[in-house]
Amino acid sequence: MGMAAEAQFHVLAVDDSIIDRKLIERLLKTSSYQVTAVDSGSKALEFLGLNEDEQRKANPPSVSLENQQDVEVNLIITDYCMPGMTGYDLLRKIKESKSLKDIPVVIMSSENVPSRINRCLEEGAEEFFLKPVQLSDVNKLRPHLLKGRNKEDQTINNKRKEMEEKHSPEQRIKTKS
C-alpha cells in the first residue's frame, strides 16, 4: 500500500441523512479528499470488505498475506445517530477488526452529550465533531491522515529491516505490496 505513488486520501463518510451526506462530501472534496459516502454502518462495513465471515472468524488465518480490504480507505467519518447500526457500533466493529483497526475514525453528532463523546474517544475515535460540521473541523483531519500514512510506511520499513537481518539465503519471503 505504501508503494503506491502519493495518492489522494480516500475518506469514507457514513450518514443516514442525505442532506448531511451531501454536505460532508462537499466539505471533504473542498479539502481535495476522494470521498465515498454511504447511508449506513452495514454498507460501510460492506465497502470496507468486512463481510459476515470476517466477523464470525475467531482466529484469522495465521498466514494472511492478502490485503483483506477491497479498497484503500484512509479515514472513516461517521454520524453517531443512525438507525440500525449506530456510529458507535460501527466504531467498535472497526476497532475489533484486525484489518481495519488502524484506520482513523471520526464521529459526528448533532448532540453535545459529554458521556457520548467520552465513550467514543475511549473506544478509539480520533475526533468528535458537533454538527453541522464546518470546514475548520475538516481541516483537523489532515494530521490523522498523515499519521496513518506514516504508520503504513513505517510498518513496511520495519518489515524490510527484519528481512534484511535474517541471514538464511534460502528464505524466500513473499509479500504483497
Binding site: S17, I18, I19, R26, C81, K131, P132
Partner: protein, 154 residues
C-alpha cells in the same frame, strides 16, 4: 431593472432573512462551499432539504394521533428534521423542532400537535423565502451578473 439594482435587492433580502432569524450562519457556510465548479450547490442542498422535510412532515402528521401516538417515533422524525434544518441554516425551523422534542419527551400530545403546526408554518415560511431568494439569483444570472458574496457583518 439593471443588474446592480437586482444585486442590491438580493443583499437587502438575504440580510432581512438573517435579521428576522430565518437563516443563521450555517447558510453562509453553504454559500462558501459553492464555487465555479459547484455553482448550484446551495440550491441542490436546499432542494434535498425541501424533499426530505415534506416527507418528514407528512410522516409526523400521520404519527400524531389523539387515539395513540408513538412518541419515540415522532421524536425520531423531529430529530431528523432538526438535524437537516440545522445543516442548512434554517434557524426558526430548527428552534421549533427543539421545542417539539421537549414536548415529545413529556408525551404531551396536545402540545405536540401545536408544535407540529408551528414547525409546518416555519417550514412554509422559510421555503417561500428561499424560493424568492433563488428566483432573485436566477434573475441576476440571466442578466449577466453574479451573486454578491455575503459576509456576516451584523
Amino acid at each position: 431593472m439593471e443588474v446592480g439594482q437586482m444585486q442590491r435587492q438580493w443583499v437587502e433580502y438575504i440580510r432581512s432573512l438573517f435579521m428576522e432569524g430565518f437563516l443563521d450562519g450555517q447558510f453562509l457556510q453553504l454559500q462558501q462551499l459553492q464555487d465555479e465548479n459547484n455553482p448550484d450547490f446551495v440550491v441542490e442542498v436546499v432542494s434535498l432539504f425541501f424533499d426530505d422535510s415534506e416527507k418528514l412532515l407528512n410522516d409526523l402528521t400521520k404519527a400524531i394521533d389523539l387515539k395513540g401516538t408513538d412518541f419515540k417515533r415522532v421524536d425520531a422524525h423531529v430529530h431528523q428534521l432538526k438535524g437537516s434544518s440545522s445543516s442548512i441554516g434554517a434557524q426558526r425551523v430548527k428552534n421549533a423542532c427543539i421545542a417539539f422534542r421537549n414536548y415529545c419527551e413529556e408525551q404531551n400530545i396536545e402540545a405536540c400537535f401545536r408544535c407540529l403546526q408551528q414547525v409546518k408554518q416555519e417550514y412554509c415560511l422559510v421555503k417561500n423565502k428561499l424560493e424568492t431568494l433563488f428566483r432573485l439569483e436566477q434573475q441576476i444570472m440571466a442578466a449577466g451578473g453574479s451573486i454578491p458574496t455575503m459576509e456576516l457583518s451584523f
